[in-house]
Symmetry: C2
Subunit: 510 residues, 2 copies
């Protein structure tokens, strides 16, 4: 996945929390570095590889029990091996009227793994870390710690409240190496009386900034509550096809070397400059009220091509209609187009699909198969994901220089702009490369370092790091990291847990 991988010393597959405790106790006593993974599907940021060579990989994928699902209070208690696909399937089989927040990492990605990296999804509960609680954690020496009200085994509110009494510790176990989470409670959403999905198309690349200025008041007022994602043309394109190796050599970005090819591909796949998707839920009248507020807010925006609201029944109706007219050749492309809409709707509805993963394989020269994961497709992908204010100015300050940098290293500028909360967006830029080409690997690594360095200098810090933590981020904030290292020393004095995973440790291996 990343330009370089690392070699493990060994792999352990515990099945229970007690086994995790024994492994860590032993590892602490012998100073063996341990790198826990949930399912190893940290696409865009890593895979099953540790940050350093020579670690014992603690693969938690066999701890995959769904311990409890509570329909009245809408939560699930899960282990680290539970994938988003597995939980969705479980709810379906048990006819449980609850919905899971889904994201594009595919059905085989661990829920806990994603939460602990503070990943996000597409629904009202898209900020996943804010919608979980009650972590069961094994510390480096094998000590057990339950956070929140889980600290009191009898506590009746342990699954439904974010904190306990005393300091709130959950945040410590995200983006860190301070403990191994072996269970948590994940909040779910009741299926809504009415769900509406809306799709926005902008026909001008510059319109994204002013568009965000229009969206922000809708988030601040509470009209918009689901994570909203906007994809630029090249980001959308990689969902439909792969790099046209027959028409370009990939030494330069396609839009620089052969803008006409990009243009032709976008036309072929009906791809706008930007496409965005979000959802609204509630009663019929609530959904209508929110749709009206969105229409009003976006009305007259320069560069607005389309704003479409769809619900499940209107989409089904369209699908049936298109099936009929697609016997006429001119309408055949509509089928493809509607398939994309359906894929978007399914993710918004909480169905984690394999489709969105395909984009990772944009620059792969291998035969890319939808059912394979990015590693099997020989895909190379690094995400650089700075956080910025949801303003036109913020977007201009990030997107314009970043595009130039990516072109300098010969990569297409693929970016998703995701609304993380009411005020902030994350610009997730994909450096897609052919993992089989040394030249592309080297350029990808250099591009990554340059982008990240420039963004950090300009005040745009990523919300999340690849599994190889960028030294520049440690060096730019020594006081903060030193304070964190003091906590690390308190709980993991032998520094065995996830060396260099966010928290810097002395290099244990060369």
């Amino acid at each position: 996945m990343l330009p370089q991988g690392t070699w493990p010393a060994a792999v352990a597959w515990p099945r229970t929390r007690e086994e995790v405790q024994s492994v860590l106790k032993e590892a602490s006593a012998r100073a063996i570095p341990v790198y826990p993974i949930s399912c190893g599907k940290n696409w865009g940021y890593g895979d099953a590889c540790a940050s350093l060579d020579g670690c014992l990989i603690l693969d938690l994928s066999r701890m995959n029990r769904i311990i409890e699902v509570n329909t009245d209070l809408a939560y699930a208690v899960v282990e680290p091996g539970v994938t988003q696909g597995q939980l969705v399937e479980y709810l379906r089989e048990n006819q449980c009227p609850l919905m899971v927040d889904a994201n594009g990492a595919g059905p085989d990605a661990s829920l806990i793994g994603n939460i602990l990296e503070r990943g996000f999804g597409h629904s009202r509960y898209g900020d996943r870390f804010s919608h979980c609680c009650n972590l069961e954690v094994v510390l480096a020496d094998g000590t057990l710690l339950n956070t929140g009200f889980g600290a009191y085994p009898q506590a009746r509110a342990q699954h439904i409240y974010k904190h306990g009494i005393g300091p709130s510790l959950d945040g410590l176990f995200t983006q860190s190496s301070l403990g191994v989470v072996t269970r948590l409670t994940f909040w779910l959403m009741p299926k809504a009386e009415r769900s509406s999905f809306f799709f926005v198309a902008l026909n001008d690349a510059q319109a994204i900034g002013p568009f965000m200025d229009r969206l922000r008041p809708l988030f601040l007022s509470g009209t918009l509550r689901s994570t909203f994602h906007c994809f630029n043309d090249r980001r959308l394109l990689c969902g439909d096809t792969t790099f046209p190796w027959d028409r370009a050599d990939g030494k330069q970005a396609l839009e620089v070397q052969h803008p006409e090819v990009l243009q032709q591909l976008c036309k072929q796949f009906k791809i706008p400059a930007w496409g965005g998707s979000g959802s609204l839920t509630g009663t019929a009248l609530e959904v209508r009220a929110a749709s009206q507020a969105i229409r009003r807010a976006i009305h007259g925006l320069a560069g607005l091509d389309r704003l479409i609201f769809l619900d499940e029944s209107s989409l089904r109706w369209l699908e049936r209609g298109v099936k009929i007219v697609s016997v006429i050749p001119q309408f055949r492309s509509l089928t493809q187009y509607l398939k994309k809409i359906r894929m978007g709707v399914e993710v918004l509805k909480g169905t984690p699909l394999r489709g969105p993963l395909k984009g990772a394989s944009w620059r792969s020269r291998a035969a890319v198969l939808d059912e394979l994961d990015p590693l099997e497709n020989k895909a190379g992908l690094i995400w650089v994901s700075p956080v910025l204010p949801m303003t036109a100015q913020g977007l201009a300050d990030v997107l314009i220089p970043s595009e130039k940098t990516m072109h300098r290293f010969g990569f297409e500028f693929q970016v998703t702009v995701s609304c993380l909360n009411e005020r902030a967006v994350c610009a997730v830029m994909s450096i897609c490369f052919d993992r089989q080409s040394k030249d592309e690997r080297d350029r990808a690594e250099a591009c990554y370092q340059q982008l990240l360095g420039d963004l950090t200098k300009n005040g745009f810090i990523p919300y999340r790091s690849s599994s190889i933590f960028p030294t520049v981020l440690w060096e730019a904030s020594p006081d903060y990291w030193q304070a964190v290292e003091r906590l690390k020393a308190a709980w993991d004095p032998a520094q065995i847990l996830s060396p260099n995973h966010y928290i810097r440790t002395s290099p244990l291996t060369k």
Copy 2:
């Protein structure tokens, strides 16, 4: 405020973060216990007193600068001495169209002080800790730590995103003694296009459980987003009057000794078995849609007396009408009634009033004045505030035995049920006592210990503690507190900061 106070060794009033750093550096070197307070208005849980005698009180009330208010991104950067009243006043003076979450602690209560105890308010941002970020913290040895993206001084997202990169530390500084917060960013709400306030009256004490079962789906679906509070009759009554010392002796609960007096007072002040208040914001159509969903959900509930929706204009119209008819003696009580509605509306609108503090003085024998604070009114009050599921069963399991316990110790059962999130409520039970009476102080202390012990045993742990932390809560979860003590040792090895404030330290003084 509490049955016992403590004596300070000295008081320091720093004006700057640098002064806080010097004090702590010196205190760490000399092992002097330091107890920081923001404004000392921790009503129901404490005042300006430390948990132990002999501390240096670090009074931060003079650090009261509003450093920045950003209207576009809706946030304020404040110091610990900034009160909720001060921020509201600042916004009003600067005609800034933003709204602050207000609560019943009065205009002089510190925002940061309340957030760090994880207090809550009455609006969409009622969960205050979830709506702040970017803490500036001085550790025990004087080291400075900035959390979130604030760790990078140049970070453009430092005021608008909850986390930074790496572990999320903010939770560590709530309900703890791990650092002194000298600044943070507090998120505000744009004034809504339309605000509606709704009031519910139940005429049956048993109806609260089934009522919560009806509300829960509205929270889970996202229709209700503001903190909703329900007050029982005795809790409502203390807003209107004080204990009828002329008709009862207070040795027993009024409802036990003289139920007819309680009944007569409730009739006089038009007080229902339960009264609740909440708000809706959005466009006119959004507010209408949400009102409709609420009406539908509550329709036909046994024990429902009234459900009223009001907006500012309809309330003003009523006020004018009542002013006119109140010349007729029979209608005079309407004025009083409408005054209460107005007070409720003002708090929901984000105006922190002195009125709600009056309830603390229920058992005070002193002449109670509205403009004085509870300490000056000689009020005694301890809150016991367990968290429980938002279900009829949860409420029955907490309220029925707790009422019996309070009666056993001779106190009226006053309780507020507050919806903390979509799944959990907090039952805040007030032990109101006359602080001038040794008998009442002793009974209050004994009642507190009994209630808290029983609730803890039965799985109902409080969300927050009084400034004298209950030993039973440490003893019921030794593993959790030991893990926390290891963090304490890392950042405050001399254990100078807030001894025994949530985190147990060796007793420093006797």
